[in-house]
Amino acid sequence: MPLLRIEGVAKSFGNFRAVDKLSLDIRAGEFFALLGPSGCGKTTLLRMLAGFETPDEGRILLGGSDIAQVLPHERPVNMMFQNYALFPHLSVRDNIAFGLKRAGMARKDIATRVAEMVALVKLEGLEKRKPDQLSGGQRQRVALARSLARRPQVLLLDEPLAALDKKLRESTQGELMELQRRLGMTFIIVTHDQEEAMTMAGRIGVMDAGRLVQVATPRNLYEAPASRWIAEFVGDINLFNGQVTARDRGRLTVSTTEAGTLAVSELWPPVTKEAVSVAIRPEKVKLSRRAPASDAGASQPINRLEGVVIDVNYLGGITSYRVKLETGAVVRSSMANTARLDVDAYLAGQRVVAWFTADDCLVLEQ
């Protein structure tokens, strides 16, 4: 039995179906991310878990009992709000102690727990400050400490890092993961930032139009997206539409208008339709001046596309190229800058061969 089981939950606002018969299991101690574009229903789902919205249908089982109709203040879950929602009239200490007082904890225990939380989020010395006397990063820590103080069975985090700048966000991501591991608590985070979801979560649920379209580990989500939409939503990808013309022991031959005939490995489950898209991530597309040697020695077929470099973007760690094929289609390729002095960098206008193996391709139904 999972810690949290969401069963056929639906929620509409007027005619808008925000969450559409969604089911999901979350295990105890898991760091789970709900990822999706804005308006996909991820926040509504989180708010139903917190109790701020009541599902129209379905059940939310926490430790086996249905909490769908339980009021927020009677649920053993806590939420960290996107805008932090710190009480402006209360000090850091009183903000953190708020939930403990409501739980009827003894004074002495409250003081101990608050001190513990303050130490946990490294806010020592700021206990007496009011929220408006804190920096954004400090406020975020107070919000975290406040939501953790009651030791909830599940901690819900609504875009917890959205208000922080990039550097702070990255270091906080690490701290959140460390904290979650140390406390062994179940975290459910809502985010629209796929990098954030991939960095922190053990599993990611991708939502679109009120439905879960895929639940997978970050690696599987990226390397084996369940649909074209997910492939495009998560990371960058090259897509070529075409028809399956031959099937041979897990190898497909796809004839595309933009990139000619491509050899691709089939995923499980196999595609059933003939009209497919061949997808290839830019970092799996290599560039070279001449086509690599024939497939003879290779264990799998190699696809080669000839074209001209039209765009070079140096991004520090990687350089991304856009290569225009003779058909007019553009292939994106990104390569790691593994050497400081790269004599092998390509320039715009240069003729190159973009190549990739059959195993690096994905075949997705259109």
């Binding site: 701020f52 929602a85 939930g99």
Partner: protein
């Protein structure tokens, strides 16, 4: 030439204008009243001495100046008529403000929780009475409250009372009039703070285990205190000096300071004592005014 230079002059004028207004329409008249309060009554035109006559030279002015005294202020303390009037004004103002808070807070709270579109309508309803003259509205209350007025007729028809009740010329009628007239001044600042309140704060309180009632007392109410203070002072200060409502609706056995002032001025023709009473009233109202100003400033800072 920078743009700064071009805007400097009108900007400076705009900064001075309010002060100019204060000097012309507050400080100068207050100077007159202060001077009269230090003078003595006289059967003359104007009814006090000394009169400063700038055409008679410096010596005469100095002599006139020497005649000024604080005797009238002494009288204010000796004659308990004034002290009683002040006290009654304070009691009436405090009581009315409390009633206004008790009625105004729930209304403002309800307004702030209405859907956006209805908030505008509710706001309109609060302001609509201002479209009719204040005096006419008080006279309308006289009509309703009098012996054969609407209220008694309704009560008699419904057999709630068997004989007409005396409403007019009672403290109840006065409180009714004051609360009715000042309610918008209480509701509007309260509504302003309550409608700005971040809804996620209440959700956070609920999330942390506070029942809706606890959330109200622990979050909403403390955060609305600046509005409570603003509304209370906005009502309290003018109610202390209120004249028309007690004069028209209350009985005549005990007077508010505004009524005493009026009597001194127009019936007794004792301008100096009346002026002294007015100056004393003003001084009494300085502390709450300062408090109000500080509250406003704190709220401005909090909103930044």
């Amino acid at each position: 030439m920078s743009a700064r230079r071009i805007f400097a002059r009108p900007a400076r004028f705009a900064a001075i204008a309010p002060y100019l207004w204060m000097v012309l329409f507050f400080l100068v008249p207050f100077g007159f009243v202060l001077k009269i309060s230090l003078s003595q009554t006289a059967i003359a035109q104007p009814p006090y001495t000394p009169v400063f006559d700038f055409s008679e030279g410096r010596a005469a002015l100095a002599a006139a100046f020497a005649q000024l005294s604080f005797d009238n202020f002494g009288l204010l303390v000796q004659d308990n008529l004034y002290i009683l009037s002040y006290l009654r004004s304070l009691v009436v103002a405090v009581t009315s403000t409390l009633i206004l808070l008790l009625i105004g807070y729930p209304i403002a709270y309800g307004m702030a929780r209405l859907p956006q579109r209805w908030q505008a309508v509710a706001m309109m309803l609060v302001i609509v009475p201002f479209w009719t003259s204040f005096l006419i509205r008080i006279y309308a209350w006289i009509n309703i409250l009098q012996h054969d007025g609407l209220l008694n007729q309704v009560l008699l028809t419904l057999h709630i009372v068997s004989a007409p009740v005396v409403w007019l010329s009672t403290d109840s009628a006065m409180y009714l009039g004051i609360v009715y007239s000042y309610l918008p001044f209480m509701i509007l600042p309260l509504y302003a703070t309550l409608s700005k309140m971040d809804a996620s704060l209440l959700e956070a309180a609920g999330d942390l285990g506070a029942s809706p009632r606890q959330a109200f007392w622990l979050v909403t109410f403390p955060l609305s205190l600046p509005g409570v203070g603003a509304g209370a002072l906005l009502c309290f200060i003018p109610i202390v000096g209120e004249f028309v409502i007690p004069d028209l609706l209350a009985g005549s056995n005990s007077l508010m300071i505004g009524q005493t002032l009026w009597l001194e001025f127009f019936t007794n023709k004792d301008w100096p004592v009346a002026s002294a009473a007015a100056v004393a009233l003003l001084l009494l109202l300085v502390p709450p005014l300062v408090l109000y100003d500080r509250l406003q400033r704190r709220q401005l800072e909090a909103n930044r």
